[in-house]
Symmetry: D3
Subunit: 290 residues, 6 copies
Amino acid sequence: MRFDEAYSGNVFIKSKPSYKESQAVIYGMPMDWTVSYRPGSRFGPTRIREVSIGLEEYSPYLDRDLDDVNYFDAGDIPLPFGNPQKSIEVIEDYIDQLMADGKFPLGMGGEHLVSWPVMKAVAKKYTDLAIIHFDAHTDLREEYEGEPLSHSTPIRKIAEHIGPKNVYSFGIRSGMKEEFEWAKENGMHISKFEVLEPLKEILPTLAGRPVYVTIDIDVLDPAHAPGTGTVDAGGITSRELLGAIHAIAGSEVNVVGGDLVEVAPIYDPSEQTANTASKLMREMLLGWVK
Amino acid sequence: MRFDEAYSGNVFIKSKPSYKESQAVIYGMPMDWTVSYRPGSRFGPTRIREVSIGLEEYSPYLDRDLDDVNYFDAGDIPLPFGNPQKSIEVIEDYIDQLMADGKFPLGMGGEHLVSWPVMKAVAKKYTDLAIIHFDAHTDLREEYEGEPLSHSTPIRKIAEHIGPKNVYSFGIRSGMKEEFEWAKENGMHISKFEVLEPLKEILPTLAGRPVYVTIDIDVLDPAHAPGTGTVDAGGITSRELLGAIHAIAGSEVNVVGGDLVEVAPIYDPSEQTANTASKLMREMLLGWVK
Amino acid sequence: MRFDEAYSGNVFIKSKPSYKESQAVIYGMPMDWTVSYRPGSRFGPTRIREVSIGLEEYSPYLDRDLDDVNYFDAGDIPLPFGNPQKSIEVIEDYIDQLMADGKFPLGMGGEHLVSWPVMKAVAKKYTDLAIIHFDAHTDLREEYEGEPLSHSTPIRKIAEHIGPKNVYSFGIRSGMKEEFEWAKENGMHISKFEVLEPLKEILPTLAGRPVYVTIDIDVLDPAHAPGTGTVDAGGITSRELLGAIHAIAGSEVNVVGGDLVEVAPIYDPSEQTANTASKLMREMLLGWVK
Amino acid sequence: MRFDEAYSGNVFIKSKPSYKESQAVIYGMPMDWTVSYRPGSRFGPTRIREVSIGLEEYSPYLDRDLDDVNYFDAGDIPLPFGNPQKSIEVIEDYIDQLMADGKFPLGMGGEHLVSWPVMKAVAKKYTDLAIIHFDAHTDLREEYEGEPLSHSTPIRKIAEHIGPKNVYSFGIRSGMKEEFEWAKENGMHISKFEVLEPLKEILPTLAGRPVYVTIDIDVLDPAHAPGTGTVDAGGITSRELLGAIHAIAGSEVNVVGGDLVEVAPIYDPSEQTANTASKLMREMLLGWVK
Amino acid sequence: MRFDEAYSGNVFIKSKPSYKESQAVIYGMPMDWTVSYRPGSRFGPTRIREVSIGLEEYSPYLDRDLDDVNYFDAGDIPLPFGNPQKSIEVIEDYIDQLMADGKFPLGMGGEHLVSWPVMKAVAKKYTDLAIIHFDAHTDLREEYEGEPLSHSTPIRKIAEHIGPKNVYSFGIRSGMKEEFEWAKENGMHISKFEVLEPLKEILPTLAGRPVYVTIDIDVLDPAHAPGTGTVDAGGITSRELLGAIHAIAGSEVNVVGGDLVEVAPIYDPSEQTANTASKLMREMLLGWVK
Amino acid sequence: MRFDEAYSGNVFIKSKPSYKESQAVIYGMPMDWTVSYRPGSRFGPTRIREVSIGLEEYSPYLDRDLDDVNYFDAGDIPLPFGNPQKSIEVIEDYIDQLMADGKFPLGMGGEHLVSWPVMKAVAKKYTDLAIIHFDAHTDLREEYEGEPLSHSTPIRKIAEHIGPKNVYSFGIRSGMKEEFEWAKENGMHISKFEVLEPLKEILPTLAGRPVYVTIDIDVLDPAHAPGTGTVDAGGITSRELLGAIHAIAGSEVNVVGGDLVEVAPIYDPSEQTANTASKLMREMLLGWVK
């Protein structure tokens, strides 16, 4: 019994006991304070961990077991409520430390804005970083109703930071006209509606490069992920998203971090979305942490 | 502030302020009193409006924005509770007025029976009218347990009114044997199970003709629309239904009105069905009102 | 059929057709952007209207019928999303107009902060105004995490504006120690835990005075109002709250306006909270608008 | 194994195997077709049976065990869908048979209209019958929107049939002014709002008389019974209703039948209403069948 | 009225009145006591029957009507709570009797372990029996946490009983590495992830053989069957599962029994899973009972 | 940032950072494997922590703040799934350690059986221990269907261990006749139905004695705690239970530990039960840890 040490309770299934010895670190970012429509993703990380006990530990897709990866669930990053600016600073500091310690960061949101400071921190270490982005929404706004820190802006921020031509979005089916135009004019890749086929075309062009992958659960159709703030009909199946994770795992790219965001349990009475998210996390761990 | 004029509250997002200047009129038909299994669609129109605030206003499918269409949400038609006969008369009068004013009618149900008086009114103006019908059910009964005004009868009524060969049903996967036989014997088109492929074959044959499109949300699989009275497994995806709306938009037919019926919020705890319905309404507006 | 005039759909049951001729005006204030725990009250007014169709129109408590009161449901006040400062200005302007037109304002929230600009506007007309406040929470903070415009502050604001000794809170069972102390030091009345008995003692002391009554639905126990953001065990029954409304109705005070706030439908799967709210609204109309 | 005989599955817990030898018969009346607001009680009897397996068989209130009563759950009465006239005829015939066989009828609704033919059949045998009625609503309408067979009319019908002075209603908090007046003018007893105290006053006056007890679950506050069509705030607790059942059990009246109606599972996601109903059924069995 | 005979209430729609004259017998096996993650399937059979009243009786897939098959719903098998060993003995005895009487057994679970005694009993009569198995999970464990009677073991048991090469699993996407290896080493067929295509290849090889088909509802994607204990993303659609049932119906195999297990209503607030299950039952009846 | 030390995420609000320096320790016991009716309490502790962020930190009942108590949330005790015998051994060892370290144990269930090893461990240190027990159920069975380790047995076990006359149960409204008789014959105190009044009579007789308090959330009426496995109508209000906690806090007894068990989130869609449980935990901390 180690009361002062690693928490024994609500962690992702098969979390290993030591941060120091871990390859990958799982962490939650329970923030949803810039959400415009239906909030609730602040409760996502806790629920995903909770339902992970229902997971089988072995992946027949990848022929690998959770025992084969040394990862440590560090719990949620403590974020100052209602303060987006301070929250992203705290996240960036946290990821800086993970990077310094040589860890693979694997985060859970929270709203999509949390990915911005993570990607920024990762880009410090990997100067040739590319971003693969799965989402229903462009998230390319400069601001939302005057607010530059919004869940509608993270991809714009990282695109401006590392250059739009290093960002690849898939499955996009919602956004303002200006966002699509900005992407086009600036050489950023957007695959409208489609995911797996265009991804398979892009991956070889990224061979050998460091890649961070950010997944907004709403890239899935509402049938597959009702438990999210802004559901948008016409999305892909969980099977296709699993296929995308596996395609990346089987490619020549060097995945250096990833996240899964926007799971909102209150809209998920059957817990199907949280259960799907926990399976996606397992496949990301088994496929990307080598 | 115009207290006496158009309601400022629960209207479909971006409804324009003037009936007179509008091209299209949105209206609800909150009736479900002939439903045999699970009622509740009387609350559909209100919920679809409520969730429409979560919609993006631009359609990347059609490259068009809600600002580009002048439509007016006129609220719900006041219907006499529990009286189907009077209700359909009220609806018919209402649509007669819209037709006289040159408006494009875009209705929300309520049970499917509400489409019958709408189609009848539209057929007065467009004598060459054809009907495109998406549904899980044939809705071709002559009566249901002795009642000629039933949610199982609207397509039979319009088929007899304008001639069965002018009615085209898609996605049908439920009905009595007699209904399928009646359709076959009378030259009415029924695509069992399938929607998009047969639709693409039919559309060129309707080029130039006025067409009214009636969509029962249960043409979608229960995975995509759990919030409806009579779910029926084996349906199509929301992606395919969006594709059907876009195929019509891109064809040579002259859409002169449409509706979306049978959304029942009580069976939709995550509100995914209402959100999907509001997106379908947006695409119908942007694709069909020109 | 009056397409350009008053909305015929989702209004509170038996809303009369004319603003001009009305004694009382019902309006929604769909704002929840300063909520710290569970948001969702932005959707309250719409749902309360929706379920009001299930109400009996006659009150056996008051022996009065909704036909006996001339009230107009004006819909929701259009509020600028995510901007509390601007929102409260819009609300204040709106109520100024109602006051100028001699209307009895009866509002539905939204979060409790919306009551602040309403009370401020009412206090312009009635310089001797007193406030009766039913709530689980003190709402007496000066600020919340640095933000002076918060759902934790409206009673503090009005108390400072009209003088703390003119404010009477009942049913309070949650707050910071400093809030209770501030009230005590400044002569503001707080009945901890209890509602009906202390109210009956206070009412005679307010005889003849203009009174505004603000009801946070969470004064009810979670058993009676699960559908609100911050449920707090140990509250009163709906029967006691009805009793409080009737006690005010039967007293010598001059009720000049009121509101009911914090109904959040997403936490109310059986719709019991919305139904209870609509009954409370009926009793407020029948008891207070004379 | 007796495949052709009594159903072994979804029956009320501890149902005995033989109709012939039973003292009491439980039956469902799955009808809700005249409901004006929220339907769904057609699914009540099935759900009450389903959850009855969670009941303890012994009552510490009455010091009696379900093994001490010989009752037979006969399943649901097959009712012709959508036909109220025929349905009540079928029910009346069914109860006539039970009466002829000397059984104690204990029914489960379904909407309240089903109680009318039951009470009528019981009154044939017991000419001095009195009715004890627990409900939120008067149910004294002559008709509802022109329909004499409505869930708003059963108490009026039985009152006219056996004489209004033989009917005693308790807990009433909703109705039209005309209904309350009719009761008053015709000598029918109505206790507004209250149940237990007035019941205790009435019971001695009914000593020795045959009494049928009809319970609409909505006499309970929505906190205690959210799962019903027309919830109405301000009701009594389940504790008080249990007290009323026990008061009747301990009195000198001769209970000759009873029912519990209006449980609607779709509004009862936690199944609390169905569980409460099954406990009420147990106490009715143990307290009234002697 | 036959009070002592077949139950008239909660049976699968169109159940015929006589066991003796029936071809097929429907029965429930309400057991879930070895479930490791989320229990609740003990309530599955009752709910499937309840919602079956929403089914159309005719299948446009098979051009056959429920009136064309003589089946008897015998209710649930009474199982000793919490005792897996005794429960499977009771089930085996029950099926032995059905086999002796020449009935087609069509069961509803309950957890998947219930299929083991059924298959064992069927194999007594049909010595050349083959098993077709649809599931997300291998169910090939020898034991689960030391318990040989577990919902993770039924396929292993029947495979060892009739020989692994006679067992064909489809749609498998979850299991331990050891389970997949055991299947491979012992010549048992497993189609990972896929269902319809490999099934169509296997069916001709089974022509003329007696086949028992066991369907775990979780072979469906969580989008199509959220109401089950262990949802697992990446599954097939209800359309594909219907296709599999029809492929078997149209093949040369001799279906001699079947079951559908693991429907858990508490995770199914919209009742979509139960409705889908009842449609699958209809197609199994119409396609396999000849 | 202390990645290897105390978990920063899902802990009870205001948990202090050090086990060593803490007065009280909070821990979860996520076990529900002996539950007979509706399982799910294994997920209780996680949800109570999750919602505790909505709590006010100050108690106006006790005039004390969470900052005034030094408590450490140690997470959940890792329990071997499906093995009641081993689980209770693990819990007993865990509490032995807390006792050795001089901590006040404050546990969260899980099913009620988890209280047995806790009480046993506490009784080792306090030989004059008395038990105060709030529950709907006696929990006095010797065994349940042959199983001595059942959620129906913990109070019997501790009563036999420390002597029945040292055990005081309140609010009991369900049990077998034999259980009530055993209590009576053995001098154990049971207050049927009532809580606060009899408690106030008993407390003075326990002045100065060490007391452990175990609360089954189902002592509350289903209206106040729908989210539990076995709801039972006729219970007390949350207000009365708060009163009982405060009565103990204000008495002369020496509270040496306590627990709150049987919260089951799946039956609690509005999260009211979890929120109430977190408030009860706050009052237990503030009232009992001195």
